[in-house]
């Protein structure tokens, strides 16, 4: 009788404990990673390679995403606003949605799929084939050599990607606005500038830095703790993408609350 009543309680307790333990492990991993980002030596060569890998090679994906998002935004908001004769707000809606929300979130999600997965697979394979152990025996700290360059590169490059995404997104809106919806070019650009404030762009860039950290952190963490064998690496890759995507959405809400409440 008592036991049947207590069973769900026990399950809830167990799940909570497991969850807290996982949070604890992740935090300690993140702490170590950050520590090695700021304490020299820093491997510049590796950092540079990651900047190229994470930043430069993500440009096409992020650019395309931003372009089409900007275009769709213009179309959708136009049909919406024309119902109450507020077509003039289209440019403003495009630029505010892009800078504050869509550029950082979509860039974050795209990079989570592209980079989070590849980081987890690469580090996971290194774990499984004992390359991480080999690093240690060659007097090289794996956190410094593998984790720190990726975390730094993530935090630096995502804001840059988002800035590029902002511009391309606005450009997408402009194309649709001018060539499909019949706005005058000067008019559209003026509406874009008029209500834009520094905080709109800056908040988006700060979000991007946080997302960049989350994506690289989850990739590194899952790869580093990968299970044995090809199956372990596969699971690490999936977990990295899923967990970083969810964290991006959660932190997006938290950060938006912080900036605009």
């Amino acid at each position: 009788m008592i036991t049947t009543v207590l069973k769900p309680v026990r399950t809830i307790g167990k799940t909570t404990l497991n969850f807290l333990a996982a949070v604890g492990r992740l935090s300690s991993f993140a702490g170590k990673g950050i520590y090695h980002c700021v304490v020299p030596p820093i491997y510049w060569r590796l950092l540079f390679r990651q900047l190229i890998q994470i930043g430069y090679y993500s440009l096409p994906v992020v650019g395309l995403t931003a372009l089409f998002t900007g275009m769709v935004l213009a179309l959708q908001s136009y049909t919406g606003f024309s119902r109450f004769n507020a077509e003039g707000a289209v440019a403003t809606v495009v630029v505010l949605s892009m800078t504050r929300e869509l550029a950082p979130v979509l860039a974050g999600l795209m990079v989570a799929g592209r980079i989070g997965a590849s980081i987890a697979a690469e580090i996971g394979t290194m774990r499984v084939t004992e390359q991480i152990d080999a690093l240690t025996t060659l007097s090289t700290n794996p956190y410094k050599y593998l984790i720190a360059p990726r975390l730094i590169a993530g935090v630096i490059t995502l804001p840059m990607l988002v800035l590029v995404g902002d511009v391309i997104g606005v450009f997408g809106g402009y194309i649709v606005g001018v060539y499909t919806l019949g706005f005058g070019p000067e008019n559209y650009l003026m509406n874009t500038w008029e209500y834009l404030e520094a905080i709109d762009v800056i908040s988006g860039l700060i979000k991007a830095a946080v997302f960049g950290f989350l994506v690289t952190l989850m990739g590194c963490y899952n790869g580093f703790n990968s299970g044995r064998g090809a199956q372990g690496v596969g699971r690490a890759t999936t977990n990295a993408v899923v967990s970083s995507s969810i964290l991006i959405l959660v932190f997006n809400f938290i950060l938006t609350r912080m900036f605009f409440s």
């Binding site: 084939t129 080999a134 240690t136 007097s139």
Partner: protein
Amino acid sequence: MQQYKLRLHNVHKSFGSNRVLRGASLDIKKGESVVIIGGSGTGKSVLLKCVLGLIMPDRGEITVDGQNITFLPVHKRDNFMHKFGMLFQGGALFDSLPIWENVAFGLLQKHNYSRKDAYDVAIEKLRSVGLGERVAQLFPAELSGGMQKRVSLARAIATNPEIIFFDEPTTGLDPIMADVINDLIVKATKELGATTLTITHDMASARKIADDIAMIYDGKIIWRGSAKKIENSGNEYVDQFIHGRADGPIALAV
């Protein structure tokens, strides 16, 4: 008083319910070459990893040059790690780096070599394992298994460590190349004065490189003696193992 380079005393390690090491003890003198033999899955590789701190033993004591390092976490081992060289059973080459950088890795990281000097040392070490300069710019995935093993060996000895672990150095090599590697290990011990611990299933290799041979069974070192005496060990486990007989006291783990 004997000068022990490396001592393992009563080392235990389990993975869940799998009790791998159950009180392994082994003392190795400076400049000595010891070979460990034993069945597959008996914990030979785990034993080496316990010494290196890659796996934390549950219990026991491991000392290097008289200092207890048993439970020293990896990040506090900076003063010890440079003493060690390790050839991993699977090679564990860094597949994002070209061969020469793999070999020179230790030199580039800690020994403040310029890239040019490190390259020269790497080429020299590659020669000593029978590989020419033309592999230097290739990547590990472009080499055959045996070649990878030899690169891995070159990496393990590149920094002239005091203690070198070889985990199955000749597995997967043709007999001639195996003998080249045997000579190399003998040379490392005799000329550079390194202390070496080698795991092998290859009895010809064991006879050639070992001062002493130790047999691991059931998580313990059950026999240890001079390589010359291995034929007359008087131990039926050792007899069965070195003659490769299916019947005997060693039960096949199924």
